[in-house]
Amino acid sequence: MSLLALLGVLSSTIFSGTSLLYATLGEVVTERSGTVNLGLEGVLLISAATGYGVTVSTGNPFLGVLAAMLAGGLSNLVFGYLVITRKANQLASGLAVLFFGYGLSALIGKPFVGKLINSLPRYMIPGPGELPLRYTSLFKFDFLIYLVIPMTFFIWWLLYRTRWGLGLRAVGENAETAYASGRNPGMIKFQALFVGGLLAGLGAAHLSIAFTMNWAEYMTGGRGFIAIALVIFSKWHPIRAIAGVLVFSGAVAFQLLLQVSGVNVSPFLLDMIPFILTLTVLLIWGGTRKHSAPATLGRVYQGTE
């Protein structure tokens, strides 16, 4: 395998992993407050379509990113209305949001199918400036890629070093304790969902505006669900999510390379590699999972009389 091929795998890992990491971070934030959003996939689709549409209409990809974030935040607030205000079951509501997202994103995206956009500008990474073009073109990244690792540490800092994060985690562990400490658990859950939605929006924006530069129905291809699995993989910890995303996206890029290089294995089998890997890791983690999950994850907070 040539150096070029390896660098290609690395570059593609970074490109496809970025949206996944943003989405995972978003889900970490919401799950830390005790809410599972199984509809993340739908939220990603709505955001991706909205971001792409706004980019086409305005010609400005940055406005598209902003629009995608807002779309993500708002979609999550709708979900929040169901599970916090109306106290509906989280899993059922999540599935509802998922299918709603399929439909709504197709509707939003339809007029823009096949339209060209100004994608997010890419900047060369500083350092290996003297390499031949076919290498360097692999390492021109947009700002969302440069931002994702700092963002991960920022989210960690937000959750573990600020009053807001302390309250948010407390709600996820025991909403009644958080209430007794003078906080409003419902409000905090809404805030967590909104922040989670903004992050999911960033991920979706990267997918449609920076990476594929395209809108197609169901283009997220299960990323929302992989992100939920990666939250478990990372034990609800933002920084460990980086490792999870690298493993998964690396496997995706690697199997694509295998397919291109003409290995005599069914492509459908190769397609499965990343998912099998994720399943295996989840199986291994499974035994210790309950000791790191937020204690009230998935439960509806009923409030007091």
Binding site: T162, R163, L166, A170, A178, Y179, G182, P294, A295
Partner: protein, 512 residues
């Protein structure tokens, strides 16, 4: 008393609170003065916790007025109560196990900045804990702390949150005797420094030991308020029940049976995660005897019960019932043998919360009530059995309420009635009387003794040493999954047991 000349710190007037089917607080008046320890005494369901949760804003009163520091206020949420320097330690400790002591305390700090500095909070914890002898390590995870230490953290949490009015809901429920003593020591120091302390309890001994004034609640009303110096045991019981209790538990002297009903031979389990592993347990329970298990909860009691019941896998050793091997038998087989089981947490471990009381009564022996090969259930028979059993204990329930709507004490009654419905050969009871009031406690103990007198072997797990000493024929102490000592109640005392329970290096005498 000097307090009468002062202005009360808190005044409650005409507090009303109804829950579906119960009037929990009916026109309650209460005054709390600075520098006093005020006991709120009453049996289960008297409305003590409800009243205090209203003062803390956790519940909202249907009617009534509250003055704090002479000003009328409305307390709509705990946030309001905290502004008024009211703090509460709940009956079920409210610490978050997955967080450190420091984070748990920070959560309740009134002036916590958006970006907080852990070093500064650590310093404040050290200062305050030294002042009152409440030593804790701020960086420990709460999950790794014993209940006694958790209680200290709860109190520190209140003090650091600037609470001046401290509400403690049954704080001694889970403490070993010397821990209770040191808790009272702390409370006395706090009283000296002008704190007002409200102590919810139904233990008369504690009330007499460390309070200044006592308000007795009965069925949602104030039955009376008296000074501790003028109170005595009979007076309080009379206020609590409006009648004299006839406390009589009859222990018959039975000849010791030759063969044990339950025998554990070098019995071990493998605990995962936060569970405790049982190590090399050797235990015999003979028919007609009550064997008590003393220990601070979390030292293998739950695992012992679960392993006997057959929920927990046995890693080594053998379990014999009447000399037959039951080591790897299913729970069904154990039940068929005649095992009654009262687990430590009735809501999550013995009932299906959303099923009705009647369904819950039937759920452990569905085979007895199924007809037509399991296609129908004989609900009439269930009702008849339930009625008889509840009558025996003097308990009353509506059969069709969901189990989750019952209070903790009532759930415990339901489980006791169910598990002692049929004659059992072996009864395993965890914290039999936890959360029960004096009257129900008495009945439950009487029934346990009756079962023993009729030849059942009983394993009684408890943290209430008084209960263990008065009921048991033999006592073992469980510490970190091992039997740390075995005694006859007459051969030991509370302090020896208490020290073994907490793993202190005292006189480790084992008498066999």
């Amino acid at each position: 008393m000097e307090q009468s000349s002062q202005q009360p710190l808190v005044s409650l007037r005409g507090i009303m609170k109804a829950f579906p089917g119960v009037l929990a607080n009916n026109n309650i008046d209460l005054d709390i003065f600075p520098g006093e320890i005020h006991a709120l005494l009453g049996e289960n369901g008297a409305g003590k916790s409800t009243l205090m949760k209203i003062l803390y804003g956790f519940y909202r009163a249907d009617d009534g007025r509250i003055w704090v520091d002479g000003k009328e206020t409305r307390i709509k949420s705990p946030a309001d109560a905290r502004q008024l320097n009211i703090g509460m330690v709940f009956q079920v400790l409210n610490l978050i196990p997955a967080m450190s002591v420091l984070e748990n305390i920070a959560l309740f700090l009134k002036d916590l900045p958006g970006l907080y500095n852990p070093a500064q909070i650590r310093k404040r914890i050290f200062e305050q804990s030294r002042l009152y002898g409440l030593e804790v390590n701020p960086d420990d995870m709460v999950a790794h702390l014993s209940i006694g230490v958790q209680q200290k953290v709860e109190i520190l949490k209140l003090l650091l949150s600037d609470a001046k009015i401290l509400i403690l809901d049954e704080p001694t429920r889970v403490l070993a005797p010397h821990e209770v003593e040191s808790l009272f020591e702390v409370l006395r120091k706090l009283r000296q420094n002008g704190y007002a302390i409200i102590l919810i309890t139904h233990k008369l001994k504690e009330v007499m030991e460390c309070t200044d004034r006592i308000t007795v609640l009965r069925a949602g009303r104030v039955a009376g308020t008296i000074l501790c110096s003028e109170a005595n045991h009979e007076k309080l019981v009379q206020l609590m029940f409006d009648k004299q209790l006839t406390a009589q538990i009859e222990r018959e002297d039975l000849p010791r049976a030759l063969d044990p009903v339950l025998e554990l031979v070098s019995f071990s389990t493998h605990g995962e995660g936060t569970e405790v592993s049982l190590k090399n347990i050797a235990l015999k329970i003979f028919p007609g005897e009550i064997v008590g298990v003393a220990g601070v909860s979390g030292n293998g009691q739950k695992e012992l019960c679960d392993a006997i019941l057959g929920i927990e896998k046995v890693a080594g050793g053998r379990k014999l019932l009447k000399a037959q091997d039951f080591t790897h038998s299913t729970t069904r087989k154990m039940r068929d043998f005649g095992l009654g089981f009262v687990p430590e947490n009735p809501l999550t471990m013995a009932t299906v919360p959303f099923m009705s009381v009647l369904e819950n009564m039937a759920v452990t022996r569905t085979a007895d009530y199924s007809r037509h090969g399991g296609l129908t259930m004989d609900w009439k028979l269930v009702q008849e059995d339930a009625r008889q059993s509840l009558e025996k204990f003097g308990f009353t329930f509506s059969y069709y309420l969901p189990a989750k709507s019952l209070s903790g004490g009532n759930l415990q009654r339901l489980i006791i009635a169910r598990e002692m419905m049929k004659d059992s050969q072996l009864i395993v009871a965890s914290y039999l009387t936890r959360g029960l009031d004096v009257q129900s406690t008495l009945v439950a103990r009487q029934e346990l003794m009756r079962a023993r007198n009729e030849g059942a072997g009983v394993l009684l797990i408890s943290e209430d040493l008084e209960e263990l000493f008065s009921l048991c024929d033999r006592l073992i102490v469980l510490y970190e999954g091992r039997i740390a000592g075995e005694f006859k109640p007459s051969e030991t005392d509370y302090y020896q047991i208490g020290y073994l329970m907490t793993g202190s290096q005292g006189n480790h005498v084992t008498t066999h």
